[in-house]
């Protein structure tokens, strides 16, 4: 087990270095950083001074190592567009994105599992079939369209919920302004939260459903029924638990993509998170911000994967033993 964990952590680090390399290449080779920083009217002397200062005349591997070293300390350079340290910009924006992602993931997980279990148990039920059909829409509509539809219905037509922004925030810590504690903040979370989580919700629901159907056919469920256990015990105590390994895998991966796809939702709802920061960075070819964002998303993915792997051990006792014991 320990060997497994060490191996997984090693893999995670390797993946991060690769992502770092890609980010570095973008940083170093997309456009000319010197050009970007100095603008058109710089003199040759200015350029040479800057190249010297940025270490751009060092060998590429040396530059890469320096880039990684800086990244490890949270240093990604200065934003071309805003002229402020990238780390500062991201730290400012991250809480908004994390809150949005968390709410979406929670929404996706809770409703995905509930609907999945329900449609799995009531395979032929009318309501279950309606849910399944509607979910097809959820999977096939693009996120921005769902967002716009929701805005149109709930913000424009009904006027119940705000159509953009974060509402009021409360500072929880020095650099964490939260919307979770104010009414207008929570209200403004609903639409983007649903928009961002809907696809994941339907995905989890369909997965839980098919896993439930699979598990309900197994011998141990049959044996549980033959022992006269109550339905709830069979569905939730025996069946659902056996669907969790694949569900957690997918949920973990989806959590990563929730953060990645936040770009679209944040754009539609003008949500001031890192996604929006990234989109604006693309328009202005703000390379340091783009590189940092790439690394951030990479780190999130890798971390979640690692946590998912560890959760397996918590769920499945068969993995906890390196050599299965035998009865006497």
């Amino acid at each position: 087990m320990l060997a497994f964990i060490i191996r997984r952590v090693g893999q995670a680090v390797a993946v991060l270095f690769t992502v770092g390399l890609v980010a570095f290449c973008i940083f170093r080779f997309m456009g000319d950083p010197v050009e970007n920083l100095l603008g058109q009217e710089a003199t040759q002397a200015d350029r040479e001074a800057l190249i010297e200062r940025l270490g751009l005349d060092d060998p590429i591997p040396v530059q890469y190592v320096r880039f990684v070293g800086n990244a490890l300390q949270g240093e990604f350079g200065i934003s071309y567009r805003l002229g402020r340290p990238v780390s500062e910009l991201i730290a400012e924006r991250l809480p908004a994105t994390l809150e949005l992602a968390m709410v979406s993931a929670l929404f996706a997980l809770v409703f995905g599992v509930l609907f999945g279990v329900y449609t799995g148990i009531r395979r032929d039920g009318v309501l279950a079939n309606i849910v399944m059909s509607v979910s097809l829409v959820g999977v096939s509509l693009p996120t921005f369209l769902i967002g716009i539809l929701l805005i149109w219905i709930f913000a424009v037509e009904l006027g119940w919920l705000p159509s953009f922004g974060r509402g009021d925030t409360v500072a929880i810590t020095e650099n964490w302004d939260s919307v979770l504690l104010t009414a207008s903040g929570l209200k403004s979370l609903i639409l983007p939260g649903i928009t961002l989580g809907l696809y994941q919700m339907t995905l989890i629901m369909r997965l839980v459903r098919s896993e439930m159907l699979e598990v309900l056919r197994t011998d141990y469920i049959r044996f549980a029924r033959a022992r006269g256990l109550r339905r709830q015990a069979i569905y939730f105590g025996h069946a659902l638990k056996n669907t969790l390994v694949p569900v957690i895998t997918v949920t973990g991966l989806q959590l990563g993509s929730i953060i990645a796809f936040a770009i679209i939702t944040e754009t539609v709802f003008q949500w001031p998170g890192v996604g929006l920061l990234f989109v604006n960075a693309i328009f202005f070819v703000d390379i340091p911000v783009m590189a940092a964002y790439l690394l951030l998303v990479g780190t999130v993915f890798v971390t979640i994967n690692l946590i998912v792997d560890l959760l397996y051990f918590a769920i499945d006792p068969r993995l906890r033993f390196d050599a299965p014991g035998k009865g006497a």
């Binding site: 197994t218 011998d219 141990y220 049959r222 044996f223 549980a224 029924r225 033959a226 022992r227 006269g228 256990l229 109550r230 015990a233 105590g237 025996h238 638990k241 056996n242 769920i315 499945d316 006792p317 068969r318 033993f321 299965p324 014991g325 035998k326 009865g327 006497a328």
Partner: protein, 338 residues
């Protein structure tokens, strides 16, 4: 009242309505099981043994259903009960043991939790008492160091031990009847013998009845008091085990005994019954065995024989029709297997 059979199956018919017609994996089976008795059920693969066992506890998968007939438990009909009423009977009054010990246990739950859950579902006892009983149940089926092993997961047991756990689970709420569907098929011979001895002992000590479904004539000879032979969803013959094994009446049973190496007194060569059992979509007319029967005569492909009572059992074969004087007793002399 005391001699009332514990389980009584009457003319049971199980039907699957499919797009291509109605299938009857169980077609008019009937017999009784008394308290303290072990009844063996044999027959080729596909004869409907498992389906009959599932029908008794109401666990037939859709679209299958009991189309007619009755299942009486202690005189009470149970084949038309609601799902909830049936649930209370399963595990509590009828325990079920399935073939495969490797897949019958939930891999993610400790065996103790699975037993405690079963006990607490059916009996009004607290957690501590249920756990004490769970340990006793494991002890009873011969799990060494039960008090320690109770917190193990299924994968930590060997196949034979897992089958014991499965039996402990089936018996946890102290049912009166145990239906064991090929409980030893997946196990090696010595473990098989232990499991059979275990079932026999439980039956003797608790006065429980056992329906033991198996392919294995050795197990039948070893463990059962009476044996029912099924063919194509129907009962071919039923009677005391020594009679059926040594003096089979039904031509199918005769063939089955000749093709089994381990039967008592089988000195001669093994004979294979020619042909194979018909599929459910092509059950022959009249006696379902007639295309393969060496004794078949004019009547056999036209009229279906019902079980005809014999001295200690019944046989569904026209050779034993008491109303046909020309034939009476003819099959009996021929049927002796030597």
């Amino acid at each position: 009242m005391i001699d009332r059979p514990l389980l009584s199956i009457r003319d049971l018919v199980v039907e699957f309505t499919t797009r291509r017609g109605v299938l009857r994996p169980v077609d008019g089976v009937g017999f009784d099981i008394a308290r303290g008795e072990i009844l063996g059920v044999v027959g080729e693969s596909g004869a409907g043994k498992s389906m009959m066992g599932s029908a008794v506890v109401g666990l037939i998968d859709r679209p299958g259903r009991i189309a007619s007939g009755a299942v009486l438990l202690d005189g009470e009909p149970i084949h038309r009960l609601s799902e909830e009423a049936m649930r209370r009977i399963r595990g509590r009054r009828i325990g079920m043991v399935f073939q495969d010990p490797l897949t019958s246990l939930n891999p993610l739950l400790r065996i103790g939790d699975q037993i405690v859950e079963t006990i607490r579902t059916h009996l009004p006892v607290g957690e501590a008492e249920a756990r004490r009983r769970a340990i006793a149940a494991l002890d009873e089926v011969g799990i060494p160091a039960a008090a320690r092993r109770i917190d193990s997961y299924p994968h930590e047991f060997s196949g034979g031990m897992r089958q014991r756990v499965v039996i402990a689970l089936a018996l946890a709420a102290e049912p009166d009847l145990v239906i064991a569907d090929e409980p030893t098929t997946a196990l090696d011979v010595s473990v098989q013998a232990q499991i059979i001895a275990l079932l026999k002992r439980l039956c003797r000590e608790r006065g429980a009845a056992v329906m033991l479904i198996t392919h294995d004539m050795g197990v039948i000879a070893e463990a059962t008091d009476r044996v029912a032979v099924m063919y194509a969803g129907r009962l071919a013959e039923i009677g005391p085990t020594p009679d059926v094994l040594t003096r089979p009446k039904h031509p199918y049973t005769v063939g089955l005994m000749r093709s089994t190496p381990s039967t008592l007194g089988a000195g001669g060569r093994l004979h294979q019954i020619p042909g194979s059992m018909p599929g459910l979509r092509a059950i022959p007319s009249g006696c379902a065995f007639h295309p393969r029967c060496p004794k078949a005569f004019a009547r056999c492909d036209r009229e279906r024989p019902d079980p005809i009572p014999t001295a200690a059992g019944a046989v569904a074969c026209w050779l034993y029709d008491p109303e046909d004087p020309a034939l009476s007793g003819a099959g009996e002399a021929e049927g002796t297997a030597t």
